[in-house]
């Protein structure tokens, strides 16, 4: 499979502070769903905004390459980017209602990419909007096209966002925590809808989530982020069943909410604040139970491990841990 999106050593900095993204490299193949997983503040959303080149003011973006299909997203002019956004690549947001202009009708906003990227006339766009809304399972699409964002429930608003995202039949969909703000029963519906649309259009999806459970059913591959770095990536099943990075492992343990024999849940130890982490060693080192083991301690504190093929993993399963080999055995 050819890579549709390729990110090579993406770094994002705000002012003089330590980078929020530090050499992130990712690839998504045609038709593939890659889940980007991590806790809040780990840099998931920054990655998404970097791809769209919509970083907030004051952010500095450096990358060896960010490429979508044949388009070089680093070198692209603002005009080219405008045709990428909503055209080749669309985006879903965590709070769909807030990502829609409160003063414009839903229909006109879904119509924007149609008119912009497909050059449709106003009336053609209006007809197409109704079809799109119908396709994403919105009842009474004509009426809904005329309503305003605040009149929609969260689930409905996310369906509208999906309709808008699908309007120009993008090759890449970036979904930034699209179900986090939704009720669990609705979350399932939206996940199913995304999966269905992905299958219909054959597009690739970058699915960002903090919830490993949500990711399991939809992702082909998972990349785990910690403090602005990818610490592990690989096929979904392998990451979930045989994580090789201690952070991934800890995250899975935590998320499972399964108590140990003493009735306690697994807890990742408190570490130093993130600002102290980038002093050269592994960023997870201060919270990592493996790091104290004598034979790797030296490396952990002084040198940051590279993202390398995980021992015992299949191809494409990479990890960033000095102790990865011993991890597997103990896991």
């Amino acid at each position: 499979m050819a890579a549709l999106l390729e990110i090579d050593r993406l770094t994002v900095t705000f002012g003089g502070a330590s980078p929020v993204l530090d050499g992130v490299s990712l690839g998504i193949a045609e038709g593939e769903v890659l889940a980007l997983v991590g806790e809040s503040g780990s840099g998931k959303s920054m990655t998404a905004l970097s791809i769209m080149r919509l970083l907030p003011e004051g952010a500095r973006m450096d990358a060896a390459a960010v490429r979508l299909g044949e388009t070089d997203l680093v070198a692209a002019s603002e005009g080219q980017m405008n045709s990428v956004r909503g055209g080749q690549a669309s985006m879903l947001f965590q709070q769909p209602k807030r990502a829609l202009d409160p003063t414009a009708t839903v229909g006109s906003q879904i119509g924007e990419p149609l008119r912009k990227h497909l050059g449709m006339s106003r009336s053609a766009a209006r007809r197409r909007v109704v079809e799109l809304l119908h396709d994403v399972g919105v009842d009474e699409p004509e009426r809904r096209a005329r309503s305003y964002p605040h009149q929609l429930s969260g689930g409905l608003a996310q369906r509208v966002m999906i309709a808008a995202a699908m309007a120009a039949q993008p090759r890449l969909l970036i979904a930034d925590e699209p179900t986090t703000a939704l009720d669990v029963t609705v979350e399932a519906q939206i996940l199913a809808l995304i999966a269905q649309k992905k299958a219909e259009l054959g597009m690739s999806v970058l699915f960002i989530s903090h919830d490993l459970g949500v990711v399991a059913s939809i992702a082909d591959r998972i990349a785990v982020m910690y403090a602005g770095r990818i610490v592990e990536q690989g096929p979904t099943a392998e990451i979930l069943d045989a994580p090789s990075h201690p952070y991934t492992q800890a995250l899975i343990l935590c998320s499972s909410l399964r108590p140990d024999e003493s009735g306690e849940l697994y807890v990742i130890p408190d570490g130093a604040g993130l600002e102290r982490v980038s002093s050269g060693g592994c960023r997870f080192q201060s919270r990592c139970h493996r790091a104290v083991e004598a034979h790797v301690e030296h490396h952990c504190a002084s040198r940051e491990p590279e993202l390398v093929a995980a021992p015992g993993g299949t191809s494409g399963h990479d990890t960033r841990c000095w102790a990865a080999s011993t991890m597997r055995e103990s896991a």
Partner: protein, 359 residues
Amino acid sequence: MTETDLRTLGGSAGPGGGADGTSDMVVIENAVKHFLLPRRAFRRTRDHVHSVDGVSLRIGAGEVLGLVGESGSGKSTLARVLLHLAPADAGRVVVDGMDVRKLRGAESKRLRRTAQLVFQDPHAAMDPRMTIGESLSAVLAQHRMGTAEERRKKVEDGLREVGLDESYVDRYPAECSGGQLQRVVIARALLLGPKLLVCDEPTSALDASVQAKVLNLLSRLRREHHLTMLMISHDLRVVRLISDRVAVMYLGQVVEIADRDQLFDAATHPYTLALLDAATPKRPGSEPTVAARGEPPSPIHPPEGCRFRTRCPLATERCRTQMPPLQAVAPGHEVRCHRWDEARAALVGEGGLVGEGES
């Protein structure tokens, strides 16, 4: 049970009593809480939100009741009704022998010492302009407990108990992380030595690793202080972890209530089943299953008949016209569904539901 009965029972439970689970710390009977919406011109009636619409519940002393439901189901309102923060419109609410709807003066202070609340967003629950120490010792001062020195010591002890050192006394809320601050909120709730702790989504604003920490803390405190708890969450797994019994709410009503294991293993309400399905860890590559259609209707105009019927795959004509009663289907297991006996068979696939394949 008459009111006097309850009083004696509540009284006999005493501090630390009721661990045997025979007496009730909380009795809610037919509680109703509707929020009026602003009046509109030339309308005789005012719309209202049916937040809590005839809920009856009991929580035994020392018991943890999990309360599950989606947004708008009325679970948070029920917590406020219980604590008399949003007084019920009708029904009876008894906490530790006190009828909270009739409390006056000193008695209401006793309710405040008996029952406490832990919030979802710890940052919102702390006054940003007061240091943690000020916030906490003010509580003691309000109850005229101890001298300033004693209060400070008690605050430090309280913080230490939730795993925070005394340096937090002089910190402002903005200087703490969510997890740390949630522990402060818990410490504050425990300052007055309550018997009942109502936790309203205490971990849903937290990251997974912090969530585990707070849940561990709550479990430990529950054991050590013999707390009765109402654990409110939209996440079945959180509730499962800590509860003895679980109640499921939908649009202001309890639709199913059972012992924890009974509920997770033998739930019969279609809505509970949908929730359980959503909470089931998915196998990689499996198709997402969708067990409930659409979205919850507005609590301003809840559907006639069974309130879940608009989303229920099993809904029939009868569901449209008749509201099902909450009926016992097993000892301690009550369900509000006309078709409870067939629901499980009809909705649960080969693979079973939550945890069934694993535990």
